[in-house]
């Protein structure tokens, strides 16, 4: 039963992945991504990680894909129409990636352990995840919060509006100011 379910979700996830890459319209890519994320949620359930499965549906399928769709709609004002320009990997890059993937598959086939021990009772519940998060994995959890702070600071620093002015800029500006050292304002 589990093997059959896994087979179905794996095929769906792979099909969705191909769809993300191959779809001509961005909206279709986003919807194919939704298929991938939902199939992975079923996979997590099969691994007895019920809380992670719920999070996968709520956070990824619920919030992040919606965000993608919104952005696509805002960027392509004509209801997400229009083919994307110049998508696709160079052939050599695609070949290298496929090679690496094949290598990883080979390694997996050679080294996989057939039987995993059954999960302990209570595994994958909210209590269990919470205990792990605030017990054994407390320091990585806190480091992740610092990482989010860095992301926010970076987004604000790089995203906020600048005063429009022909200011001296480092590196090689397009048009060097005529004569004289830098003006400090």
């Amino acid at each position: 039963m589990e093997a059959v379910l896994f087979g179905i979700t794996a095929v769906l996830a792979l099909a969705g992945g191909v769809g993300v890459v191959a779809a001509r319209q961005p909206v279709h890519s986003a919807l194919a991504l939704l298929l991938v994320l939902l199939s992975l949620a079923v996979d997590y359930l099969l691994l007895a990680a019920q809380f992670i499965a719920a999070l996968q549906v709520i956070v990824y399928a619920g919030a992040i894909v919606v965000l993608f769709v919104f952005i696509i709609m805002l960027l392509h004002t004509r209801s997400g129409e229009g083919p994307r320009a110049g998508a696709g990997l160079p052939r050599a890059g695609a070949g290298v990636l496929c090679g690496l993937f094949g290598l990883a598959l080979l390694a997996l086939a050679a080294g996989v352990r057939e039987t995993a021990p059954p999960p302990a009772p209570g595994f994958g519940t909210i209590q269990d995840v919470g205990r792990a998060l605030f017990g054994r994995y407390l320091l990585p959890f806190e480091a992740a919060s610092a990482l989010l702070l860095i992301g926010m600071v970076g987004a604000v620093a790089l995203g906020k509006r600048l005063r429009p002015a022909g200011d001296p800029s480092p590196g090689r500006p397009q048009a060097p100011p005529a004569g004289g050292p830098a003006r400090a304002r």
Binding site: A107, A110, A146, V156, S169, R172, P173, G179
Partner: protein, 480 residues
């Protein structure tokens, strides 16, 4: 979590607190304006205070046996101590050398210092991690601020390009690292580095370790994962370039030390060969490519690639000798590379960075001390006595010979001879007569003290290396 756990990460906490303080001070001083107006070095003082507090907290802790905290995630031992010292030295010098530049090119001081401090904390976490999960988060905490710092000069297209390039390639390398963590976990059933030594020797483990090397090798700019370095170094604003050139190496090599000589000694024949091959390719390509550069930032980028190759000799040789040589080299590299960048930060050509070799002409006549510091750092980077670079390379090559890796030591010595040419070309231009037109030299007391400290480090570690040698040898005693 207990107080004992918290006191273990006290230096990192001090840095994070100082980062938040710098951000809040900047927001307070700016008010509702669009761009930061706090022109004074207040943020720099806060950041420097944080670094000094972290150094103090590091110093008051007695150097004794290794202490493990956070349920085995975090270890504070001799290696942690030296890595912290190198990272904090990089942060301190980076803070001291940048205020004149930040003011002139109007970079946001609060964000700059906050990101610099958090990146330092990330490198320190990598040096202290005893678990692959923490190693990964440390790597991310190290590299994310560097992506932002590279793109911080909003009005420069080259800086934006550098930031984007670094982010995209870095995310790619990070994906490999995470995949490696997953494979290692699948092969061994644990992410705990102290238990990897008992993992069964299956192909899956080898594949995972190879992927981990890609992630760390990208950050350290090892060949063939170095392609980002010259473009990003050239495009990023120069203080960011200076800082990232050292902190990324400190973090990445701390991670490699934790991973290879410490966690996987049983696989030493396998990874030793792989790392030795990477080291040879890195040394040869970095040094040959640096020969042809006329831009000092690009030259120092390729020099950074070459030095990554030298440091990798120590990891590939393994054992206490190799590991202590790596730690010593990291300390030396921080001082000499930041000293070289610090002199460049003082120069300015018509409102731009003065980053061509010929811009340095006649520096001796106008800023004699800066020219002398630059020459000393170049001599040290080339690895000539009586500077620290010589001793550091000596330790590395000795470790390689002890491990019977004659080819590694030979390639290292030969490529060092090649490197003498391009380093001394820069030094001789700086010490020559004549003057580059339109290049102005800025004087700043803050940066002057930083340069003096860097130069003192280069000479002190070269002439009387005893104290630091004892420190790094004590750090690796636990290794066999």
């Amino acid at each position: 979590m207990t107080w004992a756990d918290l006191s273990l990460i006290a230096p990192e906490l001090a840095l994070a607190a100082a980062a938040c303080a710098a951000l809040l001070q900047d927001a307070w001083a700016t008010g509702p304006a669009l761009e930061s107006r706090s022109r004074g070095p207040a943020a720099a003082w806060i950041a420097l205070g944080g670094v000094c507090a972290a150094l103090l907290l590091l110093g008051v802790r007695p150097a004794g046996a290794a202490q493990v905290g956070f349920a085995g995630m975090y270890v504070r031992d001799g290696i942690t101590r030296v890595v912290d010292l190198a990272a904090l030295a990089a942060a301190g010098l980076g803070v001291m050398l940048s205020p004149p530049y930040l003011e002139r090119f109007r970079l946001p001081a609060g964000e700059y210092h906050a990101l610099l401090l958090l990146s330092t904390a990330g490198a320190m976490l990598m040096g202290a991690s005893r678990n692959l999960v923490l190693l990964f988060l440390g790597l991310e905490m190290l590299s994310f601020p560097l992506y932002v710092l590279a793109a911080l000069a909003r009005r420069s297209r080259r800086s934006q390009e550098a930031g984007l390039k670094y982010l995209l390639l870095g995310a790619f390398a990070t994906a490999f690292f995470v995949y490696g963590v997953a494979l290692v976990y699948g092969a061994s059933g644990t992410a705990d580095l102290s238990r990897l030594g008992r993992a069964p020797d299956v192909p899956l483990l080898h594949a995972g370790v190879a992927f981990l090397v890609i992630g760390l090798g990208f950050e350290a700019a090892l060949v063939p994962f170095h392609a980002w370095a010259p473009d990003v170094y050239e495009g990023a604003p120069m203080p960011a370039t200076a800082f990232m050139s050292v902190i990324a190496k400190v973090g990445a090599f701390a991670g490699l030390l934790r991973l290879f000589p410490q966690a996987l000694p049983q696989l030493a024949p396998a990874w030793g060969q792989m790392l030795a091959a990477i080291a040879v390719a890195t040394m040869i390509l970095g040094n040959l490519a640096a020969l042809a550069q006329s831009n000092v930032k690009r030259l120092l980028a390729y020099s950074g690639v070459a030095h990554a190759g030298y440091i990798l000799i120590g990891i590939a040789s393994g054992g206490p000798a190799g590991s202590s040589a790596v730690l010593y080299y990291l300390l030396v590299y921080v001082a000499m590379n930041l000293g070289a960048f610090g002199v460049l930060l003082l120069l300015e050509r018509r409102g731009e960075e003065a980053d061509r070799v010929e811009d340095l002409a006649g520096l001796l006549g106008r800023a004699p001390w800066a020219a002398v510091v630059l020459a000393a750092c170049m001599v040290s980077l080339a690895g000539l006595p009586p500077t620290a670079g010589f001793i550091a390379k000596l330790y590395l090559f000795r470790a390689a010979l002890q491990d019977h890796r004659v080819a590694l030591a030979l390639v290292g010595a030969l490529t060092s001879v090649v490197s003498v040419y391009y380093y001394l070309r820069v030094a001789s231009v700086a010490l020559s007569a004549g003057a580059a037109d339109a290049v102005a030299v800025r004087h700043s007391r803050f940066a002057g003290v930083g340069l003096a400290l860097a130069a003192a480090g280069v000479l002190w570690l070269g002439i009387v290396p005893g104290a630091i040698t004892a420190l790094v040898q004590q750090a690796v005693q636990a290794l066999r």
